[in-house]
Protein backbone atom coordinates (compact mmCIF):
# COMPACT_ATOMS: atom_id res chain seq x y z
CA UNK A 1 0.00 0.00 0.00
CA UNK A 2 1.44 3.32 -1.02
CA UNK A 3 1.76 6.17 1.42
CA UNK A 4 2.65 9.51 -0.11
CA UNK A 5 4.73 11.70 2.18
CA UNK A 6 4.63 15.44 1.60
CA UNK A 7 7.48 17.29 3.25
CA UNK A 8 6.37 20.39 5.15
CA UNK A 9 9.42 22.43 5.97
CA UNK A 10 7.35 25.40 7.10
CA UNK A 11 8.51 27.95 4.53
CA UNK A 12 7.42 26.12 1.40
CA UNK A 13 3.81 26.35 0.26
CA UNK A 14 2.59 22.82 0.76
CA UNK A 15 -1.10 23.74 0.69
CA UNK A 16 -1.61 23.59 -3.07
CA UNK A 17 0.18 20.25 -3.45
CA UNK A 18 -1.79 18.90 -0.52
CA UNK A 19 -5.05 20.01 -2.16
CA UNK A 20 -4.25 18.07 -5.31
CA UNK A 21 -3.08 14.94 -3.46
CA UNK A 22 -6.27 15.11 -1.46
CA UNK A 23 -8.27 15.30 -4.68
CA UNK A 24 -6.49 12.22 -6.05
CA UNK A 25 -7.81 10.24 -3.12
CA UNK A 26 -4.54 8.52 -2.21
CA UNK A 27 -3.11 7.83 1.24
CA UNK A 28 -0.84 10.63 2.27
CA UNK A 29 1.00 11.98 5.26
CA UNK A 30 2.16 15.51 5.92
CA UNK A 31 5.77 15.07 7.04
CA UNK A 32 6.68 17.76 9.55
CA UNK A 33 9.50 15.71 11.07
CA UNK A 34 12.28 13.81 9.31
CA UNK A 35 11.14 10.66 11.13
CA UNK A 36 7.84 10.74 9.22
CA UNK A 37 9.66 9.87 5.98
CA UNK A 38 10.40 6.37 7.27
CA UNK A 39 6.70 5.42 7.08
CA UNK A 40 6.22 6.59 3.49
CA UNK A 41 6.67 4.77 0.19
CA UNK A 42 6.78 7.96 -1.92
CA UNK A 43 8.14 11.38 -0.97
CA UNK A 44 7.15 14.75 -2.46
CA UNK A 45 9.10 17.92 -1.78
CA UNK A 46 7.03 20.95 -2.81
CA UNK A 47 8.91 24.15 -3.29
CA UNK A 48 8.37 27.84 -3.06
CA UNK A 49 11.18 30.02 -1.82
CA UNK A 50 14.87 30.19 -2.55
CA UNK A 51 17.44 27.41 -2.99
CA UNK A 52 19.33 28.70 0.02
CA UNK A 53 16.29 28.98 2.28
CA UNK A 54 15.04 25.50 1.34
CA UNK A 55 18.38 23.79 1.99
CA UNK A 56 18.83 25.68 5.26
CA UNK A 57 15.39 24.66 6.51
CA UNK A 58 15.78 21.03 5.46
CA UNK A 59 19.13 20.94 7.22
CA UNK A 60 17.79 22.56 10.38
CA UNK A 61 14.96 20.02 10.57
CA UNK A 62 17.38 17.09 9.93
CA UNK A 63 15.60 16.14 6.70
CA UNK A 64 18.80 15.83 4.68
CA UNK A 65 20.18 12.66 6.28
CA UNK A 66 16.72 11.16 6.37
CA UNK A 67 16.28 11.87 2.64
CA UNK A 68 19.64 10.22 1.88
CA UNK A 69 18.56 7.12 3.80
CA UNK A 70 15.07 6.89 2.34
CA UNK A 71 15.70 7.94 -1.24
CA UNK A 72 19.28 6.89 -1.96
CA UNK A 73 19.64 3.82 0.25
CA UNK A 74 16.07 2.52 0.44
CA UNK A 75 15.30 3.75 -3.10
CA UNK A 76 11.89 5.21 -2.30
CA UNK A 77 10.23 7.22 -5.07
CA UNK A 78 10.98 10.92 -4.77
CA UNK A 79 9.45 13.91 -6.56
CA UNK A 80 10.88 17.41 -6.18
CA UNK A 81 8.79 20.35 -7.39
CA UNK A 82 10.26 23.73 -8.42
CA UNK A 83 12.87 24.52 -5.75
CA UNK A 84 12.40 20.95 -4.55
CA UNK A 85 13.64 19.94 -8.00
CA UNK A 86 16.48 22.48 -8.08
CA UNK A 87 18.06 21.24 -4.86
CA UNK A 88 18.54 17.77 -6.43
CA UNK A 89 21.55 19.29 -8.19
CA UNK A 90 25.06 20.03 -6.88
CA UNK A 91 24.71 23.66 -5.95
CA UNK A 92 22.59 26.78 -6.24
CA UNK A 93 23.65 30.39 -6.70
CA UNK A 94 20.52 32.08 -5.31
CA UNK A 95 21.48 34.29 -2.34
CA UNK A 96 25.08 33.10 -2.36
CA UNK A 97 26.43 29.68 -3.22
CA UNK A 98 24.62 26.85 -1.43
CA UNK A 99 25.30 23.12 -1.64
CA UNK A 100 22.39 21.06 -2.90
CA UNK A 101 21.57 17.39 -2.31
CA UNK A 102 23.98 16.63 -5.15
CA UNK A 103 22.04 13.60 -6.39
CA UNK A 104 22.44 14.92 -9.93
CA UNK A 105 25.35 16.97 -11.21
CA UNK A 106 24.53 20.54 -12.24
CA UNK A 107 24.33 24.14 -11.10
CA UNK A 108 21.17 26.12 -10.44
CA UNK A 109 21.76 29.64 -11.69
CA UNK A 110 19.84 32.72 -12.76
CA UNK A 111 18.44 33.02 -16.28
CA UNK A 112 20.76 34.99 -18.54
CA UNK A 113 19.37 38.50 -18.22
CA UNK A 114 21.10 39.67 -21.40
CA UNK A 115 18.49 37.78 -23.38
CA UNK A 116 15.36 39.84 -23.83
CA UNK A 117 13.17 38.02 -21.35
CA UNK A 118 11.01 39.07 -18.44
CA UNK A 119 11.89 37.51 -15.09
CA UNK A 120 10.55 35.61 -13.32
CA UNK A 121 9.68 33.08 -16.00
CA UNK A 122 6.00 33.04 -15.09
CA UNK A 123 3.29 31.39 -17.14
CA UNK A 124 2.56 28.46 -19.43
CA UNK A 125 5.41 26.98 -21.43
CA UNK A 126 6.06 23.84 -23.42
CA UNK A 127 8.08 20.83 -22.32
CA UNK A 128 10.21 19.10 -24.95
CA UNK A 129 11.68 15.60 -25.17
CA UNK A 130 9.68 14.32 -22.19
CA UNK A 131 8.15 11.05 -23.40
CA UNK A 132 10.99 8.97 -21.95
CA UNK A 133 10.25 10.23 -18.44
CA UNK A 134 7.94 7.76 -16.73
CA UNK A 135 5.63 10.26 -14.99
CA UNK A 136 5.31 12.40 -18.14
CA UNK A 137 4.71 9.73 -20.73
CA UNK A 138 0.92 10.14 -20.62
CA UNK A 139 1.05 13.84 -21.55
CA UNK A 140 -0.56 14.34 -24.93
CA UNK A 141 1.53 15.86 -27.70
CA UNK A 142 -1.36 18.22 -28.49
CA UNK A 143 -1.07 19.91 -25.10
CA UNK A 144 2.44 19.90 -23.67
CA UNK A 145 2.10 23.00 -21.52
CA UNK A 146 2.78 23.45 -17.84
CA UNK A 147 2.73 26.37 -15.44
CA UNK A 148 6.15 27.74 -14.48
CA UNK A 149 7.20 30.32 -11.92
CA UNK A 150 10.93 30.79 -11.27
CA UNK A 151 13.97 33.00 -11.94
CA UNK A 152 16.68 30.39 -11.45
CA UNK A 153 17.19 27.32 -13.61
CA UNK A 154 19.53 24.48 -14.51
CA UNK A 155 20.97 24.73 -18.01
CA UNK A 156 20.04 21.88 -20.28
CA UNK A 157 22.63 19.21 -20.91
CA UNK A 158 22.40 15.87 -22.67
CA UNK A 159 21.10 12.69 -21.09
CA UNK A 160 23.65 10.37 -19.54
CA UNK A 161 23.28 6.60 -19.08
CA UNK A 162 20.99 6.73 -16.07
CA UNK A 163 19.65 10.31 -16.20
CA UNK A 164 16.87 11.49 -18.52
CA UNK A 165 16.08 15.16 -19.03
CA UNK A 166 13.18 17.08 -20.56
CA UNK A 167 13.75 20.71 -21.41
CA UNK A 168 11.96 23.99 -22.03
CA UNK A 169 13.01 27.09 -23.93
CA UNK A 170 12.93 30.57 -22.43
CA UNK A 171 15.72 32.69 -23.88
CA UNK A 172 17.81 29.53 -23.49
CA UNK A 173 17.21 25.81 -22.94
CA UNK A 174 16.79 24.75 -19.35
CA UNK A 175 15.88 21.46 -17.66
CA UNK A 176 12.17 21.24 -16.93
CA UNK A 177 11.99 17.62 -15.75
CA UNK A 178 14.35 14.84 -14.77
CA UNK A 179 14.29 11.14 -13.99
CA UNK A 180 17.19 9.29 -12.38
CA UNK A 181 16.21 5.79 -11.19
CA UNK A 182 13.70 6.38 -8.38
CA UNK A 183 14.28 10.15 -8.35
CA UNK A 184 12.03 12.57 -10.24
CA UNK A 185 11.99 16.33 -10.41
CA UNK A 186 9.95 18.96 -12.24
CA UNK A 187 10.70 22.67 -12.54
CA UNK A 188 7.03 23.50 -13.26
CA UNK A 189 4.14 23.39 -10.80
CA UNK A 190 1.98 20.31 -11.46
CA UNK A 191 -0.39 21.43 -8.70
CA UNK A 192 -1.18 24.52 -10.80
CA UNK A 193 -1.11 22.97 -14.27
CA UNK A 194 -4.71 21.79 -14.46
CA UNK A 195 -5.32 18.44 -16.21
CA UNK A 196 -1.67 17.92 -17.17
CA UNK A 197 -0.55 18.52 -13.62
CA UNK A 198 -3.13 16.14 -12.22
CA UNK A 199 -1.89 13.51 -14.66
CA UNK A 200 1.74 13.93 -13.52
CA UNK A 201 0.99 13.61 -9.83
CA UNK A 202 -1.34 10.71 -10.47
CA UNK A 203 1.41 8.93 -12.42
CA UNK A 204 3.90 9.56 -9.62
CA UNK A 205 1.55 8.27 -6.93
CA UNK A 206 0.88 5.09 -8.92
CA UNK A 207 4.58 4.19 -9.33
Amino acid sequence: MSLIGIIDHKFGNTKSVLNLINYLNVNYKLCKSYKDLNDCSHIILPGIGSFNETMTNLDKLHFIDSLEQNVIEKKKFFLGICVGFQILFSKGLEFGETKGLNWIEGICEKFNSKKKIILPHCGWNKIISYKKIEILKNISSTDEYFYFLHSYMIKFFDDSTDIKFAYTKYGQKFISAVEKNNIFGVQFHPEKSQQNGISVLKAFCSL
Partner: protein, 272 residues
Protein backbone atom coordinates in the same frame (compact mmCIF):
# COMPACT_ATOMS: atom_id res chain seq x y z
CA UNK B 1 9.87 30.82 -27.86
CA UNK B 2 7.85 33.18 -25.80
CA UNK B 3 5.34 32.38 -23.11
CA UNK B 4 1.74 31.80 -24.04
CA UNK B 5 -0.78 34.60 -23.81
CA UNK B 6 -3.11 33.82 -20.92
CA UNK B 7 -6.89 33.95 -21.18
CA UNK B 8 -8.08 34.75 -17.66
CA UNK B 9 -11.63 34.68 -16.32
CA UNK B 10 -12.31 37.13 -13.51
CA UNK B 11 -14.83 36.22 -10.83
CA UNK B 12 -16.38 39.13 -8.96
CA UNK B 13 -17.62 38.38 -5.45
CA UNK B 14 -20.09 40.78 -3.88
CA UNK B 15 -21.95 40.27 -0.61
CA UNK B 16 -22.16 36.50 -0.78
CA UNK B 17 -22.52 35.94 -4.51
CA UNK B 18 -20.68 35.97 -7.78
CA UNK B 19 -21.97 38.96 -9.71
CA UNK B 20 -21.94 40.38 -13.20
CA UNK B 21 -20.98 44.02 -13.22
CA UNK B 22 -21.74 46.99 -15.42
CA UNK B 23 -19.72 50.18 -15.23
CA UNK B 24 -18.90 49.36 -11.61
CA UNK B 25 -22.36 50.41 -10.44
CA UNK B 26 -24.91 47.88 -11.58
CA UNK B 27 -24.64 44.34 -10.33
CA UNK B 28 -26.52 41.19 -11.13
CA UNK B 29 -26.20 38.01 -9.10
CA UNK B 30 -25.11 35.03 -11.14
CA UNK B 31 -23.96 32.29 -8.80
CA UNK B 32 -22.48 30.68 -5.75
CA UNK B 33 -18.91 31.77 -4.93
CA UNK B 34 -17.47 28.26 -4.66
CA UNK B 35 -19.43 26.41 -7.32
CA UNK B 36 -18.22 28.81 -9.99
CA UNK B 37 -14.59 28.04 -9.13
CA UNK B 38 -15.20 24.31 -9.29
CA UNK B 39 -16.92 24.65 -12.61
CA UNK B 40 -14.00 26.66 -13.96
CA UNK B 41 -11.57 24.08 -12.63
CA UNK B 42 -12.90 21.61 -15.18
CA UNK B 43 -12.32 24.04 -18.04
CA UNK B 44 -8.52 23.81 -18.13
CA UNK B 45 -8.08 27.53 -17.45
CA UNK B 46 -4.77 29.34 -17.76
CA UNK B 47 -5.37 31.26 -14.57
CA UNK B 48 -8.18 32.65 -12.42
CA UNK B 49 -8.58 36.07 -10.81
CA UNK B 50 -11.03 36.27 -7.91
CA UNK B 51 -11.92 39.72 -6.62
CA UNK B 52 -14.01 40.66 -3.62
CA UNK B 53 -15.79 43.89 -4.58
CA UNK B 54 -18.18 44.07 -1.60
CA UNK B 55 -18.42 47.57 -0.16
CA UNK B 56 -17.01 46.72 3.23
CA UNK B 57 -15.00 43.69 2.02
CA UNK B 58 -16.84 41.45 4.48
CA UNK B 59 -17.21 37.87 3.28
CA UNK B 60 -20.28 35.82 3.99
CA UNK B 61 -20.37 32.08 4.07
CA UNK B 62 -22.91 30.85 1.57
CA UNK B 63 -22.71 27.13 2.13
CA UNK B 64 -26.42 26.45 2.08
CA UNK B 65 -27.28 29.21 -0.23
CA UNK B 66 -27.60 27.84 -3.70
CA UNK B 67 -29.38 30.03 -6.19
CA UNK B 68 -30.64 29.22 -9.61
CA UNK B 69 -32.12 32.35 -11.13
CA UNK B 70 -30.38 35.49 -12.17
CA UNK B 71 -31.57 37.65 -9.34
CA UNK B 72 -31.39 37.39 -5.59
CA UNK B 73 -34.09 39.93 -4.85
CA UNK B 74 -36.63 38.69 -2.36
CA UNK B 75 -34.34 35.93 -1.23
CA UNK B 76 -33.99 35.70 2.51
CA UNK B 77 -31.10 34.14 4.25
CA UNK B 78 -29.06 34.86 7.34
CA UNK B 79 -25.49 35.36 6.26
CA UNK B 80 -22.63 34.26 8.45
CA UNK B 81 -19.38 36.17 8.28
CA UNK B 82 -16.21 34.23 7.59
CA UNK B 83 -12.67 35.53 7.48
CA UNK B 84 -10.77 35.94 4.26
CA UNK B 85 -8.21 33.26 5.09
CA UNK B 86 -10.76 30.50 5.50
CA UNK B 87 -12.52 31.74 2.40
CA UNK B 88 -9.34 31.47 0.30
CA UNK B 89 -8.57 28.10 1.83
CA UNK B 90 -11.94 26.85 0.68
CA UNK B 91 -11.67 28.48 -2.75
CA UNK B 92 -8.29 26.91 -3.43
CA UNK B 93 -9.10 23.44 -2.15
CA UNK B 94 -10.29 22.31 -5.56
CA UNK B 95 -8.57 24.90 -7.71
CA UNK B 96 -5.62 23.39 -9.58
CA UNK B 97 -4.61 26.46 -11.52
CA UNK B 98 -2.82 29.70 -10.72
CA UNK B 99 -5.15 31.70 -8.48
CA UNK B 100 -5.08 35.42 -7.76
CA UNK B 101 -7.11 36.82 -4.89
CA UNK B 102 -7.85 40.48 -4.36
CA UNK B 103 -10.11 42.81 -2.39
CA UNK B 104 -9.44 44.67 0.82
CA UNK B 105 -5.88 43.43 1.36
CA UNK B 106 -4.23 46.09 3.50
CA UNK B 107 -1.60 44.40 5.63
CA UNK B 108 1.34 42.05 5.20
CA UNK B 109 -0.01 39.43 7.53
CA UNK B 110 -3.27 38.97 5.63
CA UNK B 111 -1.33 38.91 2.37
CA UNK B 112 0.96 36.23 3.74
CA UNK B 113 -1.94 34.09 4.99
CA UNK B 114 -3.73 34.36 1.64
CA UNK B 115 -0.58 33.25 -0.20
CA UNK B 116 0.05 30.44 2.27
CA UNK B 117 -3.45 29.07 1.91
CA UNK B 118 -3.50 28.33 -1.78
CA UNK B 119 -3.50 31.66 -3.65
CA UNK B 120 -0.47 32.25 -5.87
CA UNK B 121 -0.81 35.98 -6.25
CA UNK B 122 -2.57 38.82 -4.50
CA UNK B 123 -4.16 41.72 -6.29
CA UNK B 124 -4.01 45.08 -4.56
CA UNK B 125 -5.73 48.25 -5.68
CA UNK B 126 -6.94 51.18 -3.53
CA UNK B 127 -4.71 50.43 -0.57
CA UNK B 128 -1.64 50.27 -2.82
CA UNK B 129 -2.57 53.62 -4.31
CA UNK B 130 -2.92 55.22 -0.89
CA UNK B 131 0.17 53.50 0.56
CA UNK B 132 2.58 53.04 -2.27
CA UNK B 133 5.24 51.52 -0.03
CA UNK B 134 2.88 48.59 0.57
CA UNK B 135 3.74 47.35 -2.94
CA UNK B 136 7.47 47.28 -2.23
CA UNK B 137 6.89 45.72 1.15
CA UNK B 138 4.81 42.92 -0.41
CA UNK B 139 7.37 42.46 -3.19
CA UNK B 140 10.17 42.17 -0.66
CA UNK B 141 8.37 39.55 1.41
CA UNK B 142 6.73 37.47 -1.29
CA UNK B 143 8.53 38.35 -4.53
CA UNK B 144 7.19 40.56 -7.31
CA UNK B 145 5.75 37.56 -9.12
CA UNK B 146 3.05 37.30 -6.44
CA UNK B 147 1.97 40.93 -6.63
CA UNK B 148 -0.59 42.22 -9.10
CA UNK B 149 -1.47 45.89 -8.88
CA UNK B 150 -4.98 46.34 -10.18
CA UNK B 151 -5.87 49.71 -11.70
CA UNK B 152 -9.41 50.90 -12.44
CA UNK B 153 -9.68 53.83 -14.79
CA UNK B 154 -12.14 56.06 -16.56
CA UNK B 155 -11.86 58.28 -19.60
CA UNK B 156 -12.47 61.97 -19.06
CA UNK B 157 -12.22 64.07 -22.21
CA UNK B 158 -9.12 62.61 -23.84
CA UNK B 159 -7.30 61.35 -20.77
CA UNK B 160 -7.62 58.29 -18.58
CA UNK B 161 -7.71 58.73 -14.81
CA UNK B 162 -7.21 56.28 -11.97
CA UNK B 163 -10.27 55.60 -9.79
CA UNK B 164 -10.09 53.94 -6.40
CA UNK B 165 -12.55 52.64 -3.77
CA UNK B 166 -14.34 50.33 -6.19
CA UNK B 167 -14.38 52.97 -8.88
CA UNK B 168 -16.04 55.61 -6.72
CA UNK B 169 -13.21 58.08 -6.17
CA UNK B 170 -11.35 59.91 -8.90
CA UNK B 171 -7.71 60.34 -7.87
CA UNK B 172 -6.98 62.82 -10.69
CA UNK B 173 -3.85 60.81 -11.41
CA UNK B 174 -3.27 59.72 -14.99
CA UNK B 175 -3.31 55.98 -15.53
CA UNK B 176 0.12 55.75 -17.21
CA UNK B 177 1.78 57.64 -14.37
CA UNK B 178 0.39 55.30 -11.75
CA UNK B 179 1.09 52.14 -13.78
CA UNK B 180 4.73 53.14 -14.22
CA UNK B 181 5.06 54.02 -10.57
CA UNK B 182 3.50 50.72 -9.46
CA UNK B 183 6.08 48.92 -11.57
CA UNK B 184 8.90 50.93 -9.99
CA UNK B 185 7.57 50.05 -6.53
CA UNK B 186 7.82 46.35 -7.31
CA UNK B 187 4.55 45.20 -8.87
CA UNK B 188 4.95 41.98 -10.84
CA UNK B 189 1.97 42.53 -13.10
CA UNK B 190 -0.64 45.19 -13.80
CA UNK B 191 -4.34 44.37 -14.15
CA UNK B 192 -5.93 47.18 -16.11
CA UNK B 193 -9.70 47.59 -15.87
CA UNK B 194 -11.69 50.08 -17.87
CA UNK B 195 -14.74 51.27 -15.93
CA UNK B 196 -16.34 52.66 -19.11
CA UNK B 197 -16.01 49.30 -20.83
CA UNK B 198 -17.04 47.21 -17.82
CA UNK B 199 -20.01 45.09 -18.88
CA UNK B 200 -20.41 47.08 -22.09
CA UNK B 201 -19.59 44.15 -24.40
CA UNK B 202 -18.27 46.60 -27.00
CA UNK B 203 -14.65 45.47 -27.19
CA UNK B 204 -11.54 46.60 -25.32
CA UNK B 205 -10.48 50.24 -25.13
CA UNK B 206 -7.56 49.78 -27.52
CA UNK B 207 -6.01 53.21 -27.04
CA UNK B 208 -5.94 52.73 -23.27
CA UNK B 209 -4.33 49.29 -23.58
CA UNK B 210 -1.71 50.61 -26.00
CA UNK B 211 -0.83 53.58 -23.80
CA UNK B 212 -0.34 51.52 -20.67
CA UNK B 213 1.50 48.71 -22.47
CA UNK B 214 4.03 51.27 -23.74
CA UNK B 215 5.04 52.48 -20.27
CA UNK B 216 5.44 48.99 -18.76
CA UNK B 217 8.16 46.37 -18.81
CA UNK B 218 6.23 43.97 -16.55
CA UNK B 219 3.33 41.89 -17.90
CA UNK B 220 0.01 43.62 -18.51
CA UNK B 221 -3.43 42.01 -18.14
CA UNK B 222 -6.19 43.93 -19.91
CA UNK B 223 -9.81 43.68 -18.83
CA UNK B 224 -13.11 45.26 -19.71
CA UNK B 225 -15.32 45.09 -22.76
CA UNK B 226 -14.75 41.64 -24.25
CA UNK B 227 -17.81 40.13 -25.91
CA UNK B 228 -16.29 37.55 -28.28
CA UNK B 229 -13.12 36.13 -29.84
CA UNK B 230 -12.82 39.07 -32.23
CA UNK B 231 -12.42 41.47 -29.33
CA UNK B 232 -9.59 39.40 -27.86
CA UNK B 233 -7.90 39.05 -31.23
CA UNK B 234 -8.13 42.77 -31.87
CA UNK B 235 -6.68 43.86 -28.54
CA UNK B 236 -3.85 41.32 -28.83
CA UNK B 237 -2.90 42.45 -32.33
CA UNK B 238 -3.20 46.13 -31.51
CA UNK B 239 -1.63 46.36 -28.07
CA UNK B 240 0.25 43.11 -27.45
CA UNK B 241 -0.71 42.47 -23.79
CA UNK B 242 0.62 39.41 -21.92
CA UNK B 243 -2.83 38.36 -20.79
CA UNK B 244 -6.43 39.07 -21.68
CA UNK B 245 -9.16 38.89 -19.07
CA UNK B 246 -12.93 39.07 -18.91
CA UNK B 247 -15.67 38.41 -16.39
CA UNK B 248 -19.15 38.48 -17.84
CA UNK B 249 -18.72 36.52 -21.05
CA UNK B 250 -17.59 33.43 -19.16
CA UNK B 251 -20.63 33.50 -16.90
CA UNK B 252 -23.57 32.71 -19.06
CA UNK B 253 -22.64 30.35 -21.81
CA UNK B 254 -21.60 26.84 -20.87
CA UNK B 255 -18.08 26.01 -22.15
CA UNK B 256 -17.62 29.59 -23.37
CA UNK B 257 -13.99 29.52 -22.25
CA UNK B 258 -13.08 26.48 -24.34
CA UNK B 259 -14.97 27.79 -27.35
CA UNK B 260 -13.16 31.14 -27.29
CA UNK B 261 -9.78 29.52 -26.60
CA UNK B 262 -10.21 27.14 -29.51
CA UNK B 263 -11.18 29.97 -31.83
CA UNK B 264 -8.17 32.08 -30.78
CA UNK B 265 -5.80 29.16 -31.34
CA UNK B 266 -7.34 28.55 -34.75
CA UNK B 267 -6.50 32.14 -35.62
CA UNK B 268 -2.83 31.36 -34.90
CA UNK B 269 -2.63 33.49 -31.80
CA UNK B 270 -0.10 32.42 -29.19
CA UNK B 271 -2.41 30.56 -26.77
CA UNK B 272 -1.93 27.30 -24.94
Amino acid sequence: MSLKIRLIPVLLYKDGFIVKSQKFNFYQTVGNPFEQVQRYNKWNLDELIYLNISNNKIIFSTDNNKITGSTSSGKKYIPKKIDVINFVKKLSSKCFMPLTYGGGINNINTARQILKNGADKISINSYAFKNKKFISECARYFGSQSIIVSIDCKKINKDYYVYINDGKTNTNVKVCDWAAEAERMGAGEILLNSIDKDGAMSGFDIRLCQMVRKVLKIPLIVCGGAANSDDFEYVIKKSNPHSVAAANIFQFKENSYQVIKKELKKRKLNFR
